[in-house]
Symmetry: D3
Subunit: 160 residues, 6 copies
Amino acid sequence: MSKLAVFPGSFDPITIGHYSIINRALPLFDKIIIAIGYNREKAGFFPIEDRIALISKLFVDHAIIEVQSYTGLTVDFCKKVEARYLIRGLRTSADFEFERSVAQVNRKLLTDVETIFFLTEPQHSFISSSIVREIISHGGDPKEFLPPGLDISDLTSQKR
Amino acid sequence: MSKLAVFPGSFDPITIGHYSIINRALPLFDKIIIAIGYNREKAGFFPIEDRIALISKLFVDHAIIEVQSYTGLTVDFCKKVEARYLIRGLRTSADFEFERSVAQVNRKLLTDVETIFFLTEPQHSFISSSIVREIISHGGDPKEFLPPGLDISDLTSQKR
Amino acid sequence: MSKLAVFPGSFDPITIGHYSIINRALPLFDKIIIAIGYNREKAGFFPIEDRIALISKLFVDHAIIEVQSYTGLTVDFCKKVEARYLIRGLRTSADFEFERSVAQVNRKLLTDVETIFFLTEPQHSFISSSIVREIISHGGDPKEFLPPGLDISDLTSQKR
Amino acid sequence: MSKLAVFPGSFDPITIGHYSIINRALPLFDKIIIAIGYNREKAGFFPIEDRIALISKLFVDHAIIEVQSYTGLTVDFCKKVEARYLIRGLRTSADFEFERSVAQVNRKLLTDVETIFFLTEPQHSFISSSIVREIISHGGDPKEFLPPGLDISDLTSQKR
Amino acid sequence: MSKLAVFPGSFDPITIGHYSIINRALPLFDKIIIAIGYNREKAGFFPIEDRIALISKLFVDHAIIEVQSYTGLTVDFCKKVEARYLIRGLRTSADFEFERSVAQVNRKLLTDVETIFFLTEPQHSFISSSIVREIISHGGDPKEFLPPGLDISDLTSQKR
Amino acid sequence: MSKLAVFPGSFDPITIGHYSIINRALPLFDKIIIAIGYNREKAGFFPIEDRIALISKLFVDHAIIEVQSYTGLTVDFCKKVEARYLIRGLRTSADFEFERSVAQVNRKLLTDVETIFFLTEPQHSFISSSIVREIISHGGDPKEFLPPGLDISDLTSQKR
């Protein structure tokens, strides 16, 4: 049986923290689906198409990484793609308590799914998509918080 | 003097975690008022009438349990009904820090009121009304997170 | 059925924080046993007899308070005295996580016992028996951290 | 080089907790700018002019305190006024984790800025601007949570 | 390259929490070494030989599980066996903060090693080896906290 | 009035985390006393003389830094040297809760003393003296966790 993991998130946008976790998770799985959750009623900061394009481009050389978007419960997406593993990163105690609840709910809803946690690297522990959005909104440069080589002009259509 | 406790919350909807706490608090008090707080400007997920009906039905055999709704400060409701105790459940550290602040504010505003904390059972520690709402919104079945015997068709008018 | 609670601890010595919790718990129970746990192999700072004498004197006017010492598991003491409630105070998140584990273990070992938590008052949130012992060891005056009216000369035989 | 600190916040309104921190920070700096951040798109509870007037009046006798408003990134405000220090208060673990992230982002964006933390006094540890606003909204009296001498009639134009 | 993970711990004794984590980690790795750390100067509760025998017996039907003991730094053991993964379980925020530090130190000392975290199941979240030892010391029965089928007579030589 | 701060600790040994905090605190004070607390009955890992020598050498070019040892309560040392400020670093929530209690006790014992907190840098957040000692004990090289330029041969007499 192939080891398929889903890394769910809004990735609005992907940060250097997400990027590091994906790279470290790579050798452990046969395939990783980066699953961009969205909500039909609540637009994100970056359009969903741009988020997909950005991440696809970042991992273009990794055949085992696939990028998809989904709406609805994460466990329903896992069922659909037949994934048994969820990948999540942990930065702080607050993260941990939140992620623990989500993982336990997911496991209650879908016994077969196991969440695997990776630690955010210390130098990325304060980075989040929302901080990147706030820096962009105020005209700052978030380059250091983005995956290496990526810069703000790659994020083509900044909303708001 | 009779031991009257108020268990305040939005109960939108009541979960198996709330249910367990009420049952464990029962022997300690002469009367418990389950007080459903609402905000005139912010509609809940379930109509307030449905929430009252649901909880009333659950505890129909317990004469010492009463269900009321209230708006405004919780301590003002306590003053009105002359309750000296507030009941709250604790799941996580984040819960604890939040509940501690609320209890300390309440005690500052109304010296006479004491908050009594019960622990959520481990197997319910990840359950919350908001998770139940999210499962319902996405078409999932929250039965395991609701009081025993209750199912989603008892929640008659699902909004949104 | 009478409402009997056990407040277990080492009370080495009792602090103003313990004292406040006992006073606030009093109206809720028919009887409270302050149960001083000790370990035959590890002597405390104050002799167990002095700790019992001190607390007994403090609550001499409260007929419903009894002071006992015990060794072994707290749940075994509860079984022996037929107590259904344990009383514990909560100061910080670290306290909470520790107390939650202890309460959950106790409930697993003795289904019938329920731990009731009271909040330490904000101005006592940094006070502990170990801080009192450290102040005494270094020749300081811990009066502000002890129950009102109590002073260090009441603690007759300071060891170490 | 003069020691200039910025104490950023929304101060909507200033609480007794903020007031205590400012008074304790005073002897450490040559000048403190109380910097009221605002968001053009999201009105606060009290108008920005009232917040400025209120704080200015409170510290009218302290020549080294200045009150300003700002919009945008806090580090950009620090650059503009050439401040090397940020002042923040810490109440709880949740506060700490949030403030740690903000301080680390600020330091990444502006190497030269150092956040200095003061502890909220225990008896103020549950007080926040949002609790004051909630009490006012419900017709309660927040006097005990405000700087001494200040009362609600000083807050001239209560919105909402 | 084969996926080899080390699950380090003192396992004094192994609990149902450890047991659950090992079973959930099994499908993800090609081989798991359960590595029992010991300290020459500090005897454990159970002799190291008994701990090894007990765990070996538990997983006798899993060819990919091996049990070893080690002393010294965990990363040195990983280097010796050429493991790239460490497995650890997470129960509480306190656990998380401790494990995060250990994992970050390990990664600093041995760049190539990645710690993979699994969540303890909610119903095991309060179980630890030290609680099992305490129950045994006081003559209680820890059966519910041990791997299924295991009982206290399997722990042949209880010290102390 | 001169701004005198005490940075108390066991510094057994000083780490790169301590070193960074001292350097960042330097511009804020007129004088900083690095105060090495010791306990007559409990020997440290490194002799107190070596700890003093090591830190003195590190800051030989900073006339405003002085190194002293002390025993007894930290506030008594502050009184003796007439310091109004204590400096402490914060890494994690667990640190924060511990340091908050200590600072509040100190302030209760000596109204005039204020603890000023600096944040440990993210890349040092997992470093502690005890981890350095453990690495040394097991024959590892702790160089990356020590102040720059310092190496293990500078720590002349390793005990244990």
